[in-house]
């Protein structure tokens, strides 16, 4: 790169041919035309969606609200909600891609309608999005929203950092989205193994889109990890020992620590690949001292802990739900805590099982195989303890509980296939086949996603003050469950029949029936997503009927239920004192659930800050500039980013004060509502009578 390249090419590599739409129009090939049409349709959807959002915001004059109440907010609750919104938007795209891939599979005997290149982009974006821009934001959102409330804190330890993490993740997601409109995405899959992803084999900009979107996401997650860990260590309410923390907080802590240790290898390895591609280094090339095997080691040193980063918060959600919806204290709390810690620890010792077939000796494989199976022990303990939590309980089959029960059944199957894949002898056979695809979708859909959706349903009334529609929730849950089963059980069998993953087409007629079943399953999953959208629509429409302002619609057990729904900006007028696990249940049973404090004081909370959005904007443009090698843009946005950081250092007035009178007014309004509300029994949970005040039903029934 010299000065002349910077000034002679103000748009870098960007040209008219960078737009798939234009490329499609100038091509005579019908195959390119069909795939271009699909791509252009998706690109048009992105552009139209953005335009509709902009139009609606303008029409309802919502720009100010959006900016001051949301985008610049440092409130952990709003940041949490924005994370979940991001996750749901990205989920929609990735599901659409999944359906398209399964449709191709159904007609893939010797051909199909998708080109190889298009199919490869689909599985690459699908995986990248689902991991980094759906699952990660979803769990980060839930943790962000719930953990400070559960530990009786007013906010996270570093509110501005929290906003920056969100915006870095959003910038990464935006980069994946813009790749639909400008250029093309990587075809190297979500783990992008070199040398396939080296310039020699992939000279285009696709891999660079993948590299920089992952870099942004991984930076955001590292910062999130630091933030959550410090918050849990330092901001717990007085009296809340580690052993008093709700299990969701425990899983959040373990996940946060894992993020801190697991994300840097990813950041480093993608940057190394970038050095190979941009500056002709030889970290992972075939020749000249490059070693592709190092990439696999580094990637999975991140990648394996990553799957437990995803699953642990879901385990936390299930723990809360089994306890709450069984009306019973969590069984084997300490076992569950230590199982969580063991999983977090062991997850760093098993990365090699992602490449048993790379040629290392049998005993090395056996060591990592056994280490991987060891994870089955604490996981098994968790399953049993959840069963014992339900034992002698009073179980309500509400939507979160439907997800949780389906999770137990399906996750056990996924665990079994996991033990099989952890076994090198069997992995030699099913590695890289769709059996593997079925296994990890078994873990991340019934495991992670069901947990996230259960958590979404569970905490939605807390965040927005009204319950989600139960009927549409059930429809969606059953569509998810049976859709998932339809889509992935056939893949287990196809894998055993030797079908490699990522095959756009195949020659074996015997694959066809199972591929068709899988496609029908995928359609059912799409219906589940649709039902989720309808549920949200219906719930907003009839929100007045389903208000739960008092804030405890499920007879909750931990502190987040001891506030109004939605909670005030500062969460608690007076930071509570804790002397029990299930603090709110204890308070309710002692009849002190809705108390007024002796005195109110002024509360200091962080002011809004434009740091987050500025970082989001500049890092997006920086990454875009790097992808298309628009060097002036890279330098400019880099300088702005650093400048913003420096300017922040000079800002002295960063807090705002909420006067004691305002706190008092808000609190008394809520206490008044709580006292007026009729405590309802669990049988009325889904009726309009549920105003968020729970009757005490914890009377023992001996047989």
């Amino acid at each position: 790169m010299s000065w002349s390249t910077i000034f002679n090419h103000p748009l870098g590599l960007l040209g008219a041919d960078s737009f798939p739409f234009l490329a499609m129009l100038s091509s005579d090939d019908s195959d390119i035309f069909i795939n271009g049409l699909l791509g252009s349709f998706a690109a048009a959807l992105v552009i139209i969606s953005v335009m509709v959002v902009v139009a609606l915001l303008t029409r309802y004059r919502a720009w100010r609200t959006l900016w001051f109440d949301w985008l610049t907010s440092t409130d952990h609750k709003k940041i949490g909600i924005m994370y979940v919104v991001l996750a749901l938007v990205m989920l929609t795209r990735a599901i659409a891609e999944a359906v398209l891939m399964r449709a191709q599979g159904a007609v893939g005997l010797g051909g199909g309608f998708l080109s190889s290149d298009h199919f490869a982009q689909l599985f690459s974006t699908h995986g990248t999005i689902m991991i980094f821009f759906m699952a990660m934001p979803f769990l980060t959102g839930l943790i962000n929203y719930v953990v400070p409330l559960q530990i009786g804190a007013r906010d996270v330890a570093f509110p501005i950092l929290n906003s920056i993490s969100l915006w870095l993740t959003a910038a990464g997601a935006a980069l994946v989205m813009i790749s639909l409109v400008v250029g093309a995405f990587s075809t190297g899959g979500w783990f992008g193994y070199p040398p396939y992803t080296e310039t020699l084999y992939n000279p285009g900009i696709g891999v660079d889109y993948w590299i920089w979107s992952l870099t942004l996401a991984s930076l955001g997650s590292t910062l999130t990890g630091i933030n959550i860990a410090v918050t849990i260590y330092k901001k717990r309410a007085p009296g809340m020992k580690l052993y008093y923390m709700p299990l969701f907080t425990w899983t959040a802590l373990c996940t946060a620590i894992m993020m801190i240790f697991a994300m840097p290898p990813l950041t480093v390895v993608t940057l190394q690949l970038a050095l190979d591609r941009y500056l002709d280094f030889h970290f992972f090339t075939n020749g000249l001292g490059g070693n592709q095997m190092n990439f696999l080691n580094m990637f999975w040193l991140f990648g394996h802990p990553e799957v437990y980063i995803l699953i642990l918060p879901a385990f936390g959600v299930y723990s809360e739900i089994f306890s709450t919806f069984s009306g019973k204290v969590l069984f084997g709390y300490k076992s569950l805590v230590w199982a969580t810690i063991s999983i977090a620890f062991l997850s760093f010792l098993v990365w090699l099982h992602h490449f048993f077939t790379m040629g290392q000796s049998g005993h090395i494989n056996a060591v990592f195989g056994i280490a991987s199976m060891l994870i089955g022990i604490p996981t098994g303990v968790k399953i049993y303890d959840w069963m014992w939590t339900m034992l002698r309980g009073r179980i309500r089959f509400s939507v979160p509980m439907i997800y949780s029960l389906a999770f137990i059944f399906l996750f056990v199957i996924g665990g079994i296939t996991g033990i099989m894949l952890a076994n090198p002898i069997l992995d030699y056979q099913v590695h890289n086949t769709v059996f593997l695809v079925a296994h990890f979708h078994n873990m991340v859909v019934p495991g992670v996603l069901f947990g996230m959706l259960a958590g979404y349903t569970f905490w939605f009334p807390k965040a927005f003050g009204f319950r989600l529609d139960e009927r549409w929730g059930r429809i969606s849950a059953y569509c998810w469950i049976f859709g998932w089963m339809g889509a992935f059980f056939p893949l287990y069998i196809l894998g055993l029949m030797g079908l490699p993953r990522r095959s756009v087409a195949y020659e074996q007629a015997s694959y066809v029936p199972l591929e068709i079943v899988a496609f029908v399953g995928a359609l059912l999953v799409a219906a589940a997503l649709m039902a989720l959208v309808i549920q949200l629509w219906v719930s907003i429409k009839y929100r007045e009927k389903n208000r739960v302002f008092v804030g405890d619609p499920w007879n909750g057990r931990s502190l987040e239920w001891a506030t109004s729904a939605p909670p005030p900006e500062y969460n608690f007028p007076v930071v509570p004192s804790i002397n029990d696990r299930d603090a709110f249940t204890a308070a309710k049973e002692f009849g002190v659930g809705y108390q007024e404090p002796d005195a109110y004081v002024n509360i200091e909370i962080p002011q809004n800050s434009a740091m987050g959005p500025v970082f989001g904007g500049t890092s997006f443009l920086l990454a875009f500039g790097l992808v298309w090698q628009i060097w002036w843009l890279v330098i400019l946005t880099g300088l702005i980013t650093i400048g913003t950081l420096v300017m922040r250092g000079f800002q002295r007035d960063t807090l705002k004060i909420i006067p004691a009178e305002a706190v008092c007014r808000t609190h008394q309004h809520w206490i008044q509502a709580a006292r007026l509300a009729l405590p309802i029994k669990r049988s009325q949970e889904h009726t309009a009578a549920n105003k968020g005040r729970a009757a005490i039903e914890t009377v023992e029934v001996p047989t």
Binding site: M373, Q429, Y506
Partner: protein, 329 residues
């Protein structure tokens, strides 16, 4: 794809074993065409065709049985029973909202998974070593030695002892060990014949090993399972286990009809494309007898020279290839 013809052809071939090679190859070609030699009849290790796949298949069912009977079934039944028995409406069922610990149940919860994992660990420790793909298989018969090179998007099989090579078909004698060395001339790939046994990566500038064996003659699906670009899904081949006499005949046939393995041929192989595209590119020079592409005059040092050239990012030395004009022996 006609499946039933192969056993017939195998029987037929035994009868032809002692006849002259010329006659045999004619029969052979005819029979191969009849049986559709590029169709693989065995796809899966669950219908194992060799000792490794047999062991893997037995291991598979053992693990499945243990895990489903000891883990899945009790959890399924237990969960369903608990969920029903302790449902909210069942007011007669025992309800103990503060029941948070019961030591025997905790010992059970930890004990069962620990016991099962311990048992499986012993199994894994022994069998992983025993079925390490690098271990040569014990046999009284000599091993067939094949060098496998991954290209975009086909496999090149080199028979260094015979000076021949093939794209699209891996022929080898049944009932005796097959020893392979693997590398890649391009991106990372994974070489896999499910019905025979393990898969192993092929990587540029590096050599991996794989040892397999077929119990009896047959046609097995072979593939690359590691995504490698546009033609990835077509990077299939058929692994054909034959009787020793048939294999010798096949070698003769390849020697007689193969094209010289010179710079032009290698250039065509190294060009991105499927086996079918390679076949077309070489069509005037390569009259193939069964849809696959065969080469003669392959130097014994070709494989090593190729690995080194990839490792050093240097062109292949001219000594690695057959001279451009002479036809190989």
């Amino acid at each position: 794809m006609p499946k039933s013809t192969t056993p017939v052809s195998v029987l037929h071939m035994h009868g032809l074993g002692l006849q002259q090679t010329g006659t045999l190859s004619v029969h052979y070609v005819a029979l191969l065409l009849l049986s559709g030699c590029n169709s693989a009849e065995h796809l899966s290790f669950l219908n194992p065709q060799g000792p490794i796949a047999t062991a893997q298949s037995e291991h598979f069912w053992l693990v499945v049985a243990i895990l489903f009977i000891l883990i899945a079934l009790p959890v399924f039944i237990g969960t369903a029973w608990i969920a029903w028995h302790y449902r909210y409406g069942a007011t007669k069922s025992k309800y103990v909202p503060r029941w948070e610990i019961f030591k025997p149940l905790e010992y059970f919860s930890w004990g069962i998974p620990i016991a099962i994992v311990l048992f499986l660990s012993v199994l894994v420790w022994e069998d992983t070593e025993r079925f390490d793909p690098y271990h040569t298989l014990a046999s009284s018969k000599p091993a067939t030695h094949v060098q496998v090179i991954g290209y975009d998007w086909k496999w090149l099989f080199v028979y260094p002892e015979h000076g021949i090579a093939s794209v699209g078909m891996l022929a080898f004698p049944a009932e005796q060990p097959l020893t392979m060395e693997l590398t890649s001339a391009t991106v990372m790939q994974s070489f896999f014949i499910p019905a025979l046994g393990s898969q192993i990566y092929a990587m540029g500038g590096m050599v991996t090993q794989l040892n397999l064996q077929a119990d009896r003659p047959g046609h097995f699906l072979g593939e690359n399972t590691m995504y490698s670009g546009d033609g990835f899904h077509q990077q299939k081949f058929v692994a054909v286990a034959m009787t020793l006499t048939d294999f010798d005949a096949w070698v003769q046939q390849v020697r007689a009809t193969g094209i010289p393995f010179d710079a032009a041929a290698l250039n065509a192989i190294a060009t991105q494309g499927t086996k079918a595209q390679l076949s077309t590119a070489l069509a005037p020079a390569a009259p193939t007898f069964d849809g696959n592409v065969y080469f003669t005059g392959v130097k014994a040092n070709f494989f090593t020279d190729l690995v080194i050239s990839v490792m050093d990012e240097k062109p292949l030395p001219s000594t690695a290839l057959a001279p451009a004009i002479t036809k190989g022996q």
